[in-house]
Amino acid sequence: WSLPLKSVFVTFPGDIIKNMTDSELAENYLNKFGYMDTMKRSGFQSMVSTAKALKAMQKQMGLEETGELDKPTIEAMKRPRCGVPDVGN
């Protein structure tokens, strides 16, 4: 039996890109490109707002509008892109 390799992640000095969870990445992306109202919301309201923002982002990117943080959406968020916001610039 071969043992699975255990990857060790290190913090590289000078690396601007930090390891982020998918939801951190999504929150960051939706805020940065204008899909989320950046006003502080809480609890249930926040979830509704995120789903709406995700749908708007999925519509803009030509993805299926699920309103959920699915794999195609995460992959789209990781792709290189222009820094100009998509909404409300």
């Binding site: 290190v10 990117m61 030509g62 222009c82 100009v84």
Partner: protein
């Protein structure tokens, strides 16, 4: 397409630009050329002209920068954000910034222009072979002076054509030393430096003194990236060191170990564990031309499009033969109108002379030393004006028994009775003034001799000089998911097949309606032709399906009986 709120646009058509700062990744001439071509994308379809300024304030100020670069929107290191630009206006508005933590190329790997040598400044040819070994980057092999070189053809041993790769030992850019090479060691704030450094700067750019003492002479320049330099990390511009040690293990090539994002990196010293010096390995890089064309779209007033194939779609993807999408054209023409009148006469070729003086010791071993070479650069023929130089037409169709080839506001005609080659270009706007520059498809109704033109989701019908339209193609019964009609085939009198994507519909021309039972899959009916053909037409009893420079010819029994070149067989070039 979308425009910015309030339809922000320039109030003049003679827009100026100025390049404030260059990237170390590409030769200055390549950067200049990429920007000029990116502006031409927009000036080709609008009345806008772009003039480059070398000092003062221009409408569009262009610069490269990293992370915090002087505006409220910092870049984010390698990948992620590539560039941004501001809509038209005063001050920072209209400016375009490019993230210099990216690796800027022409989109297909290192774009390395050579210096000196005997290849007149030609681009490196990767891979090239030298004494039986294949090289994908510049090398110091065959030399004792540590200067990196490359061959400018595939086989150095056969052609003996070479040049030197960018190096601070040959020249610098920017700064105040007029491009002089670095002098090592040099003194800066009392300390001696043996290589380029980012010390003393907050912008992360590598620099050197061009005399032996910066403290007294204050002469400096920025160091160009080497042909195999790393990007990002904390060793920008330095080369990978193989093998290197990482977490006690030896690596002979770039690795993604230690990273969660899968990006390849390397150490620039023999031990990452000891020195912690690293950078990302070179990849294909991002096409400066494509990204600049997108950003200049913003600088002219276009916001992001939601059409994936449009230039103004927010995500980057590389395309080899770029042409502006109808959505982008519609957007920019909404703001500035269509291009009118003929192009100005191109200036005569300007001979430029560059002397490449080299020392015999500057030649890789095993070759003879050329002495002095003079190059004459001539302005190439504008490929948009020469049908034989166009690899992909917007559409090809038969009008009045003559083949018509359409591309970017022009068309050429080929008579089947002549072997003389194409006639033209003729301006579409002169013959059919209502039409846009890009025609996706066209056909002549055999019953009425009316001409149908399609562009994006709109179509026009010409009867002599009178025109109907534009109308939306949904009026014909095509679904709203169809973004453009890419080809048309006559099927008897009064019926025409319209192709889009992988499907086709049958149009009853008299009723102006799509017949029931459509769409049908193209490959189910026309087997053996590419399912992404962008020009479909009928000519001399055959169906033609074109993809890029090739055509697939199908006979009336729907058998592909020939595959050939548009250029040679149809245009007789």
């Amino acid at each position: 397409y979308k425009t910015f709120d309030g339809d922000l646009k320039w109030d003049h058509h003679d827009v100026t630009y100025r390049i404030m700062r260059y990237t170390p990744d590409m030769d200055i001439s390549l950067v200049d050329d990429a920007f000029a071509r990116a502006f031409k994308v927009w000036s080709d379809v609008t009345p806008l002209t772009f003039t480059r300024l070398f000092d003062g304030t221009a409408d569009i100020m262009i610069s490269f920068g990293k992370a915090d670069h002087g505006d409220p929107y910092p870049f984010d290191g390698k990948n992620g954000l590539l560039a941004h630009a501001y809509p038209p206006g005063e001050g920072m508005q209209g400016d375009a910034h490019f993230d210099d933590d990216e690796y800027w190329t022409l989109g297909k790997g290192a774009a390395v222009k050579t210096h000196y040598g005997n290849a007149n400044g030609a681009m490196c040819h990767f891979p090239f072979t030298f004494e039986g070994k294949s090289y994908t980057t510049c090398t110091t092999d065959g030399r004792t002076d540590n200067l990196e070189w490359c061959a400018t053809t595939a086989d150095y041993s056969r052609d003996k054509k070479f040049g030197f790769c960018p190096s601070e030992l040959l020249y610098t850019f920017g700064g105040n030393a007029g491009g002089d090479k670095c002098v090592f060691p040099f003194v800066f704030l009392g300390k001696e430096y043996d290589s380029c450094t980012t010390e003393g700067r907050s912008d992360g750019y590598r620099w050197c003194a061009t005399t032996d003492n910066f403290d007294t002479d204050k002469k400096f320049g920025f160091c160009p990236s080497h042909g195999n330099a790393v990007t990002g990390g904390n060793s920008e511009g330095e080369s990978c060191h193989f093998p290197f040690e990482f977490l006690g293990k030896q690596y002979d090539s770039c690795t993604s170990e230690g990273r969660g994002d899968g990006k390849l990196w390397c150490s620039t010293t023999d031990s990452y564990d000891n020195d912690k010096k690293w950078g990302f390995c070179q990849d294909d890089g991002y096409s400066l031309f494509l990204v600049a064309a997108h950003e200049f779209g913003h600088a002219l007033g276009l916001d992001h499009s939601s059409i994936r194939e449009a230039l103004m779609y927010p995500m980057y993807s590389y395309v080899e033969d770029f042409s502006l999408h109808p959505d982008d054209i519609e957007g920019i023409q909404y703001l500035y109108g269509r291009k009118t009148g003929p192009d100005p006469t191109p200036p005569q070729p300007i001979p430029t002379t560059t002397d490449y003086e080299i020392d015999p010791t500057d030649v890789p071993e095993t070759t003879e030393a050329p002495t002095t070479t003079t190059t004459t650069t001539t302005r190439p023929v504008d490929p948009t004006k020469d049908a034989c130089k166009i690899t992909k037409f917007d559409t090809i169709t038969v009008i009045g028994a003559e083949l018509h080839f359409f591309k970017d506001g022009n068309y050429w005609k080929m008579s089947d009775r002549s072997d003389e080659g194409p006639k033209g270009p003729f301006a579409i706007s002169e013959k059919w003034p209502a039409l846009p520059a890009v025609i996706d498809s066209a056909f002549e109704d055999l019953l009425t001799r009316k001409l149908y033109f399609f562009s994006g989701t709109r179509f026009w019908v010409y009867s002599g000089q009178s025109v109907l339209g534009p109308r939306n193609i949904e009026k014909l019964g095509l679904p709203n998911t169809v973004q453009k009609v890419e080809g048309a085939l006559q099927r008897g009198k009064g019926k025409v097949l319209l192709f889009s994507g992988e499907s086709f519909w049958r149009l009853d021309v008299k009723a102006q309606k799509i017949d029931k039972g459509y769409p049908r899959y193209t490959d189910a009916v026309f087997g053996g032709i590419p399912n992404d053909a962008h020009d479909v037409f009928q000519y001399k009893g055959h169906f033609y399906f074109c993809r890029d420079r090739f055509y697939w010819r199908m006979n009336s029994r729907r058998q592909v009986d020939r595959v050939g070149y548009v250029k040679y067989d149809l245009l007789k070039c």
